[in-house]
């Protein structure tokens, strides 16, 4: 139950945001707003889930390529559909493409031992650059009609992709992390890689899987974007590396790894998206959003460090 204080703090912050919105724009408080918040949250939630697992594994783990992976997966799968890929194969194709792109990161980090930030920064530019270059920057149409009812449908005001993909993914990963030995390995790696190695944990394989999972999660996010928007946008993943990292840190994942749970990350995603939607409703210029998310990231880590320093001195 390590994550519960974080959940309380995030819950209170969320109430503050909602109360602020209620005071400033009462009309915005409706079921339709809930739906649109969750709609936006789905893509970020999936990407942040992958990011969190990578950071949890420690070893300066970070996946800066997530946005590029989402963009390139959406682009490649849309191109494959134009080339004759049947609709039924679109979901597995998205997951497989994302997984493959993530495994490239995993190999660079776990096998070649490149610094994660350099490896994933490079692949970020390779992936996002390829997505833009392949399409010339424009959106690709031709997403199968059969996907749209799922991508745009709702049940009890909750979008189907959130209900059937993002939420189960979080529950499954939370369970995996706490019940299986693989999950305990992830925390052990983040705690002390040396001890983990000495204990006989297959460190490199766990890390490879973590990056592969992050890629697959980004692939799932690409699937959601295709089914929701009905087109592949080569810039759909823009700024996701920043936002997903902010969500993970805000959700209580320690930047050095080994500490934190994914349910806090889900709460942080909802808080972030509620804040963004609220600002949008208040007609605050959308360019503020990336600035606020960036400032939040720095602030969370500053506060975290201040706590650490205070606990050391007292």
């Amino acid at each position: 139950m390590r994550a519960s204080p974080i959940l309380v703090i995030l819950g209170v912050l969320w109430l503050v945001v909602v109360a602020g919105l209620a005071a400033l724009a009462p009309t915005a408080l409706s079921l339709a707003t809930v739906t649109s918040v969750l709609q936006f949250a789905t893509i970020l939630a999936l990407v942040a889930l992958g990011q969190s697992v990578v950071v949890l594994c420690g070893g300066a783990g970070i996946d800066l390529s997530v946005g590029g992976t989402v963009s390139l997966t959406a682009t490649l799968v849309a191109l494959a559909v134009t080339g004759g890929l049947p609709a039924i194969l679109v979901p597995p194709a998205c997951l497989a493409t994302g997984l493959a792109l993530g495994l490239v990161n995993g190999l660079l980090v776990a096998q070649l031992r490149l610094l994660p930030l350099i490896a994933t920064l490079s692949t970020f530019y390779v992936y996002s650059g390829t997505a833009v270059a392949l399409t010339g920057g424009g959106a690709l149409g031709g997403v199968p009609e059969t996907l749209l009812p799922w991508g745009r449908g709702t049940l009890w005001a909750m979008p189907l992709p959130f209900l059937t993909l993002a939420l189960p993914a979080f529950v499954a990963v939370a369970a995996l992390l706490h019940v299986t030995s693989w999950g305990r390995w992830v925390y052990a790696l983040g705690g002390s890689e040396r001890s983990a190695r000495l204990t006989g944990i297959p460190v490199d394989r766990v890390r490879l899987i973590a990056y592969g999972f992050s890629g697959a999660a980004a692939g799932a996010a690409a699937l959601v974007s295709l089914a929701w928007l009905g087109s592949a946008r080569p810039n759909i993943g823009q700024n996701l590396e920043l936002t997903s990292l902010t969500a993970a840190m805000l959700g209580g994942i320690a930047i050095v790894g080994g500490r934190g749970g994914v349910m806090g990350v889900l709460a942080a995603v909802l808080l972030l998206v509620t804040l963004q939607t609220g600002l949008l409703r208040l007609n605050v210029n959308a360019v503020w959003q990336i600035g606020i998310v960036g400032a939040l990231l720095v602030l969370v880590l500053l506060v975290d460090n201040a706590k650490l320093i205070r606990s050391r001195t007292s």
Binding site: L108, L112, L114, S122, M249, N285, G291, L301
Partner: protein, 320 residues
């Protein structure tokens, strides 16, 4: 640590650069013209200044992915002042000060706030980007007065002021690294911060200085940028961080800190810009440039890793 082995690296780089020149010279009739050479060198100048700062940052065990946005903010300061009719010299100073001030902010967050450099600069990147959008108010700065351009292309003893500025920046950094305690402090801090501290190296002050200097150099680069293009676009400096890191790593500076090469950075910048220019001339659309740069970086690091040139483990320490 600024060692003889780097001489080997610089030799290989120089050969690779010559090979690239020969190859593109054969493939494109335009490549070997003096006009194109000037274009390549002009395109290399901002990257060289930013790359020198990045060399110091990687050397000290840090990194900054916000350099493109820092250049953008400083360029806006220069452009706005020129628009208001300020003398070019004042605009120039303002750009350098703006870059330096941004560098101080980054230094404060990373060194005083102890936030890992990659995360801190990613967050600040978001903040700076938003600031750029807001400062530009949704449009470009275009058609700026040409006072600064005239000043930069004025010649002293046959050498343009812009070249004097770049050479001055390079020599300043080289003197700082080779002839003052800053150099050994930088390398010791980057190599093993804890041991450096035990040995009496002012670790935090050295890291702080590296970030501040990098900001300052971004400011100088912004001055050259505005003088050359006389406009500031919303997306200014988009892939600059990747290009700077790629050029510096290509030049033999270690991403793990503790080993730098200033000459290597110059050669890395030249090779990168020659490759980009050459590929453009043989018909590869410029949209592919970030792909080529990223792949080149992975390739160089991969070869180094496979040949055991890199310290084996990334878990030796988290980047500062």
């Amino acid at each position: 640590m600024i060692s003889r082995r780097l001489g080997e690296r610089e030799g290989v780089l120089a050969l690779a650069t010559l090979a690239a020149i020969a190859l593109f010279g054969m493939l494109s009739p335009v490549f070997l013209t003096s006009g194109n050479a000037v274009t390549v060198l002009r395109n290399a100048s901002e990257l060289l200044l930013v790359g020198l700062g990045m060399t110091l940052l990687l050397g000290v065990g840090g990194i900054d992915v916000s350099v493109g946005a820092v250049l953008g903010l400083a360029a806006i300061a220069v452009g706005r002042l020129l628009q208001e009719g300020a003398p070019p010299l004042v605009a120039m100073l303002a750009g350098v000060v703006a870059g330096g001030a941004t560098g101080l902010l980054t230094a404060a967050v990373v060194v005083v706030g102890r936030v890992p450099a990659i995360v801190a600069t990613l967050g600040l990147y978001g903040v700076f980007r938003a600031a750029i959008y807001l400062a530009l108010g949704g449009s470009w700065l275009t058609g700026l007065p040409n006072g600064l351009t005239t000043l930069m292309s004025a010649t002293a003893l046959g050498v343009p002021v812009s070249v004097v500025l770049i050479a001055g920046a390079y020599l300043g950094i080289a003197v700082l690294v080779r002839l003052t305690p800053f150099g050994p402090h930088l390398l010791a801090t980057g190599f093993a911060p804890a041991r450096a501290r035990l040995a009496g190296v002012p670790v935090r002050r050295t890291q702080f200085a590296a970030f501040a200097l990098s900001g300052l150099l971004c400011g100088v680069a912004a001055v050259l940028y505005v003088a050359t293009y006389r406009n500031v676009a919303m997306t200014i400096g988009g892939t600059l961080a990747l290009e700077a890191i790629a050029a510096v790593v290509l030049g033999g500076t270690s991403i793990l800190g503790g080993r730098i090469s200033l000459v290597g950075t110059v050669l890395g910048v030249l090779l990168l810009r020659i490759l980009q220019n050459g590929l453009l001339l043989v018909g590869v659309p410029s949209l592919w440039q970030p792909v080529v740069t990223g792949a080149l970086l992975i390739l160089v690091l991969g070869i180094e890793a496979a040949s055991g040139r890199l310290p084996v483990t990334f878990a030796r320490k988290a980047p500062a």
